[in-house]
């Protein structure tokens, strides 16, 4: 980790306001894969659907666990790719 920076003040996920300290603590508690970290911390579950945080957390996790980046980056993208208003699914008759 970067020396001299307080991990409580580093934001990893802007949508859900998750800090680096949150990520490190969760990994420390034994939650050592991205699927589980996602659900514990809500990374990847906000408005941007993980466009920033998932890669960052995958990197942190790879460094902490000694696994390769490919091994840790697994969460599945759910549709829609970007958020869509409910009304656009209603179809023709309304």
């Amino acid at each position: 980790m970067i020396v001299g920076i307080d991990p409580r003040k580093v934001i990893v996920c802007r949508c859900e306001n998750v800090t680096l300290a949150d990520v490190l603590n969760a990994i420390e508690s034994g939650l050592d894969n991205l699927e589980v970290l996602k659900r514990k911390l809500r990374i990847g579950m906000g408005q941007c659907q993980g466009q920033t945080c998932l890669l960052l957390v995958a990197g942190i996790l790879a460094r902490k666990t000694g696994k390769s980046f490919d091994e840790v980056l697994i969460p599945r993208n759910r549709p829609p790719i970007s958020p869509v208003k409910v009304k656009y699914f209603i179809g023709d008759e309304r």
């Binding site: 659900r39 514990k40 829609p80 208003k85 409910v86 699914f89």
Partner: protein, 376 residues
């Protein structure tokens, strides 16, 4: 690897059972999960919890679960709240049917009641009640935080030196003398007792022992929106369209809606679901049209012929216990199931006698349980 109790399946049932066993002093437990914790039905579920069912078995098991949920919430540190369930009824025949259901609930001490559209608006101020003839309200029902419930259970278990292995898949179960041997993709595990809590995979695993569990996967579809401050308190079911909506603790609005599906067909995303979910719920909540959908996912109900779970020791080998086939209600009953399995493991009988009616041999013996309504 050797252990006293091996639990196959890292969903809410398996993990809560481990928590319950630990509480009773059983410390030598191993949990194996083929994918990641909660990856089956658990993390996909709506998190609703109710005792308002239409069989004595479901009602009494769920009532016990509702007694236990606050204890689990305190111990593990997650939110559980009795925000109620609301069935909105739009057809005369449904109102007549639910009058009988409410009477049945009262006979077993479940405090549901028939309410008017005006009362519906008092409970959910932003709902459009046009078309609603009446509703059934169950104030004892509620919801819990699934991620924290399950992941805090994992953290609690790990702190107590109980190993939870992810990516470890059970391949074959066999009984050798008084011990049970489970072959996995990562070696062999020997245990005195094995709990199979692996959804439909439970049936595949036990087939090798000559045990037939009639479990079929039924695809289900749900979506979740962006998060808001609390706006919908109870879980609401639109009975005529088999659809439901709830606002989870984090604030997102979660919608499920049935579309035609066949047993054991793969769950794939279908536009038809999004269209139906949007149509049904924008009618009740016109403001919902402006809300963004964040995610759409599918999952399975592991269905049994009588829509009730299979719980208890095998007749063929009492050291192998099953907890599967929850038919859409596994999360809500987990604390009660964990207690019952613990009681079986420790050589006793479940406190709630109805568990005995849910044993695996009931299908062979033709002692199926009848329920009028499966939902949520």
């Amino acid at each position: 690897m050797k252990t006293d109790v091996l639990i196959i399946g890292g969903g809410v049932t398996g993990l809560f059972t481990a928590v319950s066993l630990l509480e009773q002093g059983c410390r030598n437990i191993v949990i194996i999960e083929k994918s990641y914790i909660g990856s089956g039905g658990t993390f996909r579920c709506a998190t609703g919890i109710r005792a308002s069912f239409t069989s004595r078995e479901h009602v009494n098991v769920m009532k016990r679960a509702i007694d236990l949920w606050p204890e689990y919430a305190r111990k593990l540190g997650f939110l559980y709240r009795r925000d109620g369930y609301l069935w909105v009824l739009t057809r005369e025949r449904d109102v007549e049917f639910f009058k009988q259901v409410v009477e049945f609930h009262h006979s077993l001490g479940v405090p549901s009641r028939m309410i008017s559209p005006e009362e519906v608006r008092e409970i959910v101020p932003s709902i459009n009640t046009n078309g609603i003839l009446a509703a059934v309200y169950d104030p004892l029902a509620g919801k819990a935080q699934v991620f924290n419930a399950v992941l805090n259970a994992v953290i609690h278990l790990k702190r107590n030196n109980i190993n939870v292995y992810e990516g470890m898949r059970a391949l074959k179960i066999s009984g050798e003398g008084s011990r049970i041997v489970v072959e996995t993709n990562k070696g062999r595990v020997e245990a005195d007792k094995v709990i199979v809590a692996a959804g439909k995979d439970s049936a595949n695993l036990l087939k090798g022992l000559g045990v037939e569990l009639p479990i079929h996967n039924l695809a289900k579809h749900v979506l979740i929106t962006e998060a808001f401050k609390p706006v919908i308190k109870p879980l609401i079911i639109d009975w005529s369209s088999s659809s439901y909506i709830l606002q989870v603790f984090h604030g997102n609005i979660y919608i499920g809606s049935d579309i035609p599906e066949k047993y054991d067909e793969p769950a794939v995303n279908k536009y038809m679901f999004l269209e139906k979910a949007a149509k049904v719920w924008t009618r009740y909540f016109p403001w919902l049209g402006e809300v963004y959908v964040l995610r759409y996912w599918t999952g399975y109900y592991d269905m049994t012929p009588d829509h009730h779970p299979i719980i208890g020791p095998l007749e063929e080998n009492e050291n192998i216990l099953v907890a599967a086939g929850f038919s859409g209600h596994g999360f809500m009953m987990a604390p009660a199931v964990a207690e019952a399995l613990t009681q079986y493991i420790l050589g006793g009988k479940p406190t709630i006698p109805e568990f005995e009616n849910l044993k695996p041999d009931r299908f062979k013996k033709g002692k199926l349980i009848k329920e009028i309504a499966v939902f949520g």
